[in-house]
Symmetry: C2
Subunit: 157 residues, 2 copies
């Protein structure tokens, strides 16, 4: 497996995969092409035999110089349990240390139990919410009406 930086043209390979990898949820609209054009230097692709099997799209907050934000991270379900996510995260943590970022943030939907379990395992804390779903603190309507979100935060050493 090879990890490399994202290129603009990767958008056209990744976008059609997203809804499939997210178990049929309509997710691709949340990752428009601009993320592949303007955040290449903090975003990574995992490839095996020339096929994309995972990706991580992340950026450095422009207005909060301590913070980095993970927008999307996905691994082909067939390749899960192979530490691909972990290797993508390692590349990303190297980049944020180089850029002196102290805090990493990410959000996910309460239905995304895989993401909640994964971020918790990776040492992220969950921020306080106004409601609780299946024992997880959730901020209701965070990303608009009926778009509840779980908010993750991790301090970087």
């Amino acid at each position: 497996m090879k990890i490399r930086s994202v290129k603009s043209s990767d958008y056209y390979a990744i976008s059609p995969l997203i809804n499939e990898w997210w178990g049929g949820r309509q997710m691709s609209d949340m990752l428009p092409k601009l993320f592949f054009d303007h955040f290449n230097n903090t975003s990574f692709i995992a490839e095996e035999d020339g096929h994309i099997i995972g990706f991580l799209i992340e950026f450095l907050s422009q207005s909060n110089s301590d913070v980095a934000y993970i927008h999307f991270v996905g691994v082909n379900p067939v390749y899960r349990k192979n530490h691909i996510g972990k290797q993508l995260y390692n590349n990303f943590f190297n980049v944020i240390r180089e850029n002196n970022r102290k805090v990493v943030r990410a959000v996910t939907s309460p239905v995304n139990k895989v993401s909640i379990a994964y971020h918790t395992k990776m040492g992220f804390s969950i921020e306080n919410g106004d409601i609780e779903i299946d024992g997880v603190p959730v901020v209701s309507n965070y990303d608009g009406p009926n778009k509840d979100r779980v908010l993750f935060v991790k301090n970087v050493d």
Copy 2:
């Protein structure tokens, strides 16, 4: 009218307005809260009597140090023709000059004739496309299947 920087909490005032201001098109999903959290210093709000009547959400490309990108610009239809967009753009052009950006990019849908006319009037050029719609060059499937886009570019003096 007052122009000020965007705050995170503006998201909850602006998001419900977007579909209305865009003539009923489903647009609010394209502007998640992250843009109000991490790009405050290049994004602006126009207010009148404490009400938001326009906004511009923009960021500096992180991987292309010459480029700034306009993600969203909207003015309450009731207040159009009052040069609100122009004042928002002026604030934004000041910021990009301060940050030594030479090129501004933006994309829009071919159906958004107001946006095409406005960007053209503001001195943006339209990049070559693979198709043409109503005489305008368009890149087909630019933002995914059936999501054709008009690509604007403007060099900043």
